[in-house]
Subunit: 319 residues, 2 copies
């Protein structure tokens, strides 16, 4: 188990160290990157050497998070801090060399595996970036426009622009503070939520063509086959945010997205409303997750995969 | 011109009257309805007779705004207050009898035509519901859970869940206050933003099938033909929010949606990013609007309509 720290203790710890390597999780999102670059900018403002690393390439749309910022030249890290990363395995392949060496983890996932020596964990917060904002304040660093943009990005992306259940009044007030400090919410939200690639649009079209309804239309299943992904030209970044689509349809209690993997098996995402527990459905198939969002793997071919999933859905919500 | 009032003057005026008829605009949205029912509930809390009317049927999804509320029995109105209604003509056919008799208008549209005798206008605010919240506070009425839900709804719907450029830090803080007063933001946002009818999904699919790209892919045009609407079974409520789709595609500066009307002409919606002025494009075709969103009518058939629009787009953004 990690030693648990408060925001103040975390700030004291960071004040005492230099040459800080900040690690973000693989398949990086707005919260891990916003958290990482906000913290890095704050440490730079204190005159410390710091840089952010990620196992994967950072998608272009996040470029503004580190624009106008110089990563400190390569250094042998004295202190390693992971942000928004619940499990050391989520650091990904390239950063896996650091798995056993993480000095501090700053996170908001209740499922954090306590892999770091010290841990600042606030699971009530909608985004790790909110914790970062509190840490920066505790460091005595003024949050500038660029840090504010990073923090706003983390909050907005992890809450679906303040739409998800994790959004509290404190979430909104912290985002309001970041706007007052200069975060350009309009531009950030346009880049994060409004722009879709043509490949993504094409993939959505093919996937919608392919949606089927079951159990008196209470269950919708959308199959994303390997050949559809290839035909659309969609990359990993284009696949984000597809899983919620089936559940958004009126009357659908259980929305399922199947994605064909290279070995012919299927990655399954289950999303539910108030009437069904997604984690119970996926647990029946060896997976897990949360009440409203869970996942598992099932064997192909696609007809068999659909049958398997329908069996689990029926077991949970009835015929 | 209307006599302009402050929030405090508006509250004093409302304290002095009874039998208040609250008018909302036609094709009602979350802001006009949220504003109307929040104000109505506050007036009831003061022991006054008040009821909300709308020329059109209120879509089912807004039912929670007036659930648990009794409209006051039919009365001859002593005072008529329009909310979120910029022009008397927007009251719609059924309420047009009141056009010349509006005592007070509470609005946030800069384009308000001053049709009411008195006017509380705050164009800086993202939603009329924010003004209503200030008026209720000035009336000395405690905002209860139901009023908070109404006000939150107005704010969330008029800002695209805090995504649009009209969102300020004050907008977020007012929404945060409403959450603290009991507005169930999760349920409200799910109903307002997450649920799509099957007809809508089908129409989106058909419309995406039909999207074409022009001018080095800087312009995307989506044609919604009458037979597609019929085939999908989509009603007027299912058509909301389709116009932004073409502009959301990466690299598209001008997104155009054409909708075939019963006479074979086309209603055109133009949406633009930073690189083009939608109102200039539509002005060339006899229409108008804002920098980022404008509209006009063009003659069919569809091939001719597309040519006409492309001509105007080229004239504004070049070949």
């Amino acid at each position: 188990m990690s030693e648990l720290l408060s925001v103040e203790q975390t700030a004291e710890l960071l004040k005492a160290v230099d040459k800080i390597l900040i690690l973000t999780h693989q398949y990086p999102d707005g919260d891990t990157l916003g958290s990482g670059f906000a913290l890095c900018r704050a440490l730079h403002a204190m005159g410390k050497a710091a840089r952010v690393e990620c196992s994967d390439a950072i998608p272009e749309k996040y470029g503004y998070l580190y624009a106008s910022m110089q990563q400190s030249a390569d250094f042998e890290p004295e202190f390693i801090c992971a942000v928004d990363t619940a499990d050391a395995r989520l650091l990904g392949e390239r950063l896996s060399v650091y798995e056993q060496r993480v000095s501090l983890c700053i996170d908001h996932h209740a499922s954090n595996t306590h892999y770091a020596k010290k841990l600042l964990l606030i699971p009530e917060y909608a985004a790790a970036a909110i914790i970062i904002a509190e840490v920066i304040r505790a460091l005595g660093v003024e949050i500038d426009r660029d840090m504010a943009a990073c923090i706003y990005t983390g909050i907005a992306t992890d809450t679906g622009c303040f739409k998800y259940a994790n959004t509290t009044s404190y979430t909104l007030r912290m985002a309001a503070d970041m706007m007052d400090l200069g975060a350009d919410s309009e531009t950030i939200n346009r880049n994060m939520f409004d722009i879709k690639s043509r490949a993504r649009i094409e993939l959505e079209r093919l996937a919608l063509d392919n949606m089927r309804f079951y159990l008196n239309d209470r269950c919708a299943i959308m199959c994303i086959m390997a050949d559809m992904i290839e035909k659309s030209g969609a990359g990993e970044a284009d696949m984000e945010g597809l899983a919620p689509l089936p559940r958004q349809i009126e009357g659908v209690h259980v929305g399922v997205t199947l994605r064909e993997k290279s070995d012919g098996d299927f990655k399954v995402s289950v999303r539910t409303g108030n009437h069904a527990d997604a984690s119970s459905i996926c647990a029946l198939l060896g997976g897990g997750g949360h009440m409203r969002a869970a996942g598992c793997m099932v064997a192909g071919p696609v007809e068999a995969a659909v049958e398997t999933i329908l069996g689990a859905v029926k077991a949970v919500i009835g015929e």
